[in-house]
Symmetry: C2
Subunit: 138 residues, 2 copies
């Protein structure tokens, strides 16, 4: 489990981390019972402070994604995959809505948006071709 943190995009680091954990659970990169990296390891690998990682993990516990195993670490909760998979599209949708609303309210046409999404999606696929390491079961 590796997290990519961007300190310049305005999104709180703890939120970036918790989102990525939830996505990882949703697509099977993290399995039930598996331990998430310790706060210190995650902090080191992402060049972030321990407290910031702890904040993300605390939020994930509150959401029921992680459970604490005292003295050992934090593990993926039994019902986390179902939860995260159900919320995966919602997480994307929530942010997509802001952008589309702004575009719509300012005279961007449906065709322009469709073209924009298509071209950006293709560009991203070329940029980082899919490495299906953890394919989801149907």
């Amino acid at each position: 489990m590796i997290c990519q943190v961007d300190t310049n995009n305005g999104i709180p680091i703890y939120e970036q981390i918790s989102r990525q954990v939830k996505f990882a659970v949703a697509n099977g990169s993290l399995l039930v019972g598996e331990h998430v990296p310790s706060v210190r390891e995650m902090a080191t690998r992402t060049a972030v402070n321990v407290n910031t990682v702890a904040r993300a993990y605390r939020d994930l516990q509150a959401e029921g994604v992680l459970v604490s195993i005292r003295g050992t670490g934090l593990a993926i909760a039994a019902d986390a995959p179902e939860k995260c998979r159900r919320n995966r599209l919602e997480m994307v949708r929530e942010r997509l809505r802001y952008i589309l609303r702004e575009a719509l309210q300012n005279g961007v046409s449906s065709d322009e948006i469709q073209a924009l999404v298509h071209s950006e999606w293709d560009a991203l696929k070329k940029e980082s071709p899919l490495d299906n390491t953890h394919p989801e079961k149907g």
Copy 2:
């Protein structure tokens, strides 16, 4: 010129204001030479502090969208519409890219994204039907 400010979405208020001004210039809601609302009026109408509006206007001057007319106010620069129209899709694209990258990197399929964009766009169109007050010339 009315600005809608959301204090809870994490985006700096001054950035929300400057973006909305640029969009308004791009689609003809604000014309060359026209005065933008005074910092005090804009601050009152958006329930925001004067300094925050001033910050937005300062940025817009730095970008060449607004020009200062001493003692009178700030007006839309002569070449602002061209500039803003050229940047309009880029402003949307920049934010769209973050979302699509996150989705792609986490196993969301092309079909799911297309469906998501389509359904959200339709929902937004119903929510606020287009009032073509300032149609762009072809």
